[in-house]
């Protein structure tokens, strides 16, 4: 039985997920921004989903790396949502999506700099104080660094260690970044604060040129990413693992095959399955 592998809850396949057994995730993940304040048909579907599966949340608009002030009202809304749906894991991206009071709705790379570390650590603590739970922050994919003064792994480690937050290890993002920025993915993973990994993401991507991969979440997970996950799972404690598939949704049986493959990897090495709720 799969106790550890979840799936991103998408409206594209919500009805099928809720009414069939073609896909059997251990939990589902959703972005609170897409559901907060929503009523009607989709609220009913969300409530049905919450009855059938434990929920984790993966936010989009916190913009923890923003130069702006933390949107306290938004964080309070998220807190209420997490409480309502008994959500134990709230993860976000180590990036920024809002700057100078304008939301951009996508993830921009933060300059890898010491002052940015201090600034973000302060913001994480503020958010965690409001939420009364640790944030779980994801290493994001990026296509160019900007004004970097330190290495990516140093930047991530400093933020995680100084803030007390947990880490979401996105294995696909490591693969994508290693390809795009020409570094060794396994060596990179070893330098991360692996003792703080509380959640794992895995996804597909699209190679658009000889030198560039775009993190699309629109394709099947490729073998090298499964292999990298296998490698990483030896280095971390048992945690929930999330298969992300946002576009080009295939037959649910194909997603189930990917879940089964992930489950097979962890079940032989993680003696205790991680129960999400």
């Amino acid at each position: 039985m799969n106790h550890s592998i979840g799936i991103g809850f998408r409206k594209d396949f919500a009805e099928e997920l809720l009414n069939t057994n073609d896909l059997k995730p251990a939990f589902i993940e959703l972005a609170p921004e897409n559901w907060i304040g929503m009523g009607g048909y989709w609220k009913k579907e969300l409530d049905k989903a919450a009855e059938k599966f434990p929920i984790t949340c993966h936010g989009l608009s916190l913009s923890i790396g923003s130069p702006d002030e933390v949107d306290v009202n938004f964080v309070k809304q998220v807190k209420q949502f997490l409480k309502h749906y008994n959500v134990k894991i709230y993860s976000e991206h180590l990036s920024y999506s809002k700057c100078d009071n304008a939301h951009l709705y996508d993830l921009l790379p933060i300059p890898f700099r010491e002052d940015a570390v201090k600034h973000i650590v302060q913001r994480i603590k503020q958010v965690q104080d409001i939420l009364e739970m640790p944030l779980v922050l994801e290493n994001v994919s990026y296509y160019t660094s900007v004004a970097a003064q330190m290495k990516e792994e140093e930047f991530i480690s400093a933020i995680v260690n100084e803030s007390g937050c947990n880490m979401l290890l996105d294995v696909n993002n490591v693969y994508v970044n290693a390809f795009n920025h020409n570094y060794n993915a396994k060596e990179f993973i070893k330098k991360l604060p692996l003792h703080k990994v509380a959640y794992v993401h895995i996804a597909g991507h699209e190679q658009v040129s000889d030198t560039l991969i775009i993190d699309t979440h629109g394709q099947a997970v490729i073998d090298p990413v499964f292999e990298l996950f296998d490698y990483a799972s030896d280095l971390i404690k048992p945690v929930p693992v999330l298969l992300e598939r946002d576009f080009n949704i295939p037959e649910l049986s194909e997603l189930q095959n990917e879940i089964n493959r992930l489950d097979a990897i962890v079940s032989k090495k993680w003696q205790t399955n991680y129960a999400i709720a």
């Binding site: 921004e33 304040g37 939301h103 921009l108 030198t211």
Partner: protein
């Protein structure tokens, strides 16, 4: 150590101005496409950020406003979206609510006059309301009884609705069918069906708007009709009552009238 004031503002500004500038330039580039002055970047890949950010905004607006998108020439739509995203600072944390800001932007800039599309505001509003009513937060339904007097009991309506006035019949006429020549007063009831969550539209006359507005205010039909008879100078209360009852029975069939207050 105290890091924040009570209003949530940080006591110490830890981010250096130079770092903030770099972040702001990248964000500005994503919104405007204007070439930024950034340090140590992969120039070839920078465009991906502009493309990805702009596509999200563009796709969200196309999905929210499919009729407007199809009606406007492609280059006009693209310039509209481009200008909006460059000039307007999106405020909502929820991207699916962002199209409302687009509607407000178009209205504020009076773009219907600039573009020579006099019904643009109405069309955008109509399209937005379909989305808005479909997703609006649930409103508790009042307790009702099935049997009652249409004339003397308080009639209970589906609370999940909007009653709006338009200057062009964008809800009944395609933009291509000389819509700009049909300026007038149009009233529209938009509501969400309880069971299915589907959004329904009903074209209303001014009389029926008057009736619905007064029912919402808890006034019984007999009083509403007496007032309508006087105000609208109909001078035939029996005929008026007959029309009103037919109208309300129809609304009951359509699950907009829920019953009578218990």
């Amino acid at each position: 150590m105290l890091l924040f004031q009570k209003n949530g503002k940080p006591i110490m500004q830890l981010l250096k101005e130079d770092t903030h500038t770099q972040q702001a330039r990248l964000a500005d580039y994503c919104r405007t496409g204007n070439t930024p002055n950034l340090i140590d970047i992969k120039q070839d890949n920078l465009y991906q950020y502009r493309r990805l950010v702009f596509n999200i905004a563009s796709d969200t607006l196309e999905t929210a406003y499919p009729i407007t998108y199809s009606f406007l020439p492609q280059n006009v739509w693209e310039k509209l979206v481009y200008d909006y995203f460059a000039e307007h600072k999106c405020q909502t944390t929820q991207v699916w609510r962002m199209p409302l800001e687009f509607y407000d932007y178009c209205k504020e800039k009076n773009l219907q006059e600039t573009l020579g599309v006099p019904f643009l505001n109405d069309l955008l509003y109509f399209e937005w309301l379909e989305l808005d009513v479909h997703t609006m937060e649930d409103i508790a339904y009042p307790k009702t009884k099935e049997i009652g007097s249409w004339l003397t009991d308080v009639i209970v309506l589906n609370p999940e609705h909007k009653l709006i006035q338009l200057s062009y019949p964008v809800h009944t006429t395609a933009p291509t069918e000389n819509l700009d020549e049909k300026k007038g007063n149009y009233f529209l009831l938009i509501y969400r069906e309880k069971q299915t969550g589907n959004v329904q539209f009903i074209d209303l006359s001014m009389l029926y708007v008057f009736i619905i507005e007064n029912i919402i205010n808890g006034i019984t039909l007999n009083i509403i009709l007496e007032e309508a008879n006087t105000l609208l100078q109909i001078n035939d209360i029996d005929l008026l009552t007959q029309h009103a009852l037919t109208f309300l029975e129809d609304l009951k069939q359509r699950e907009f009238v829920l019953g009578f207050l218990s």
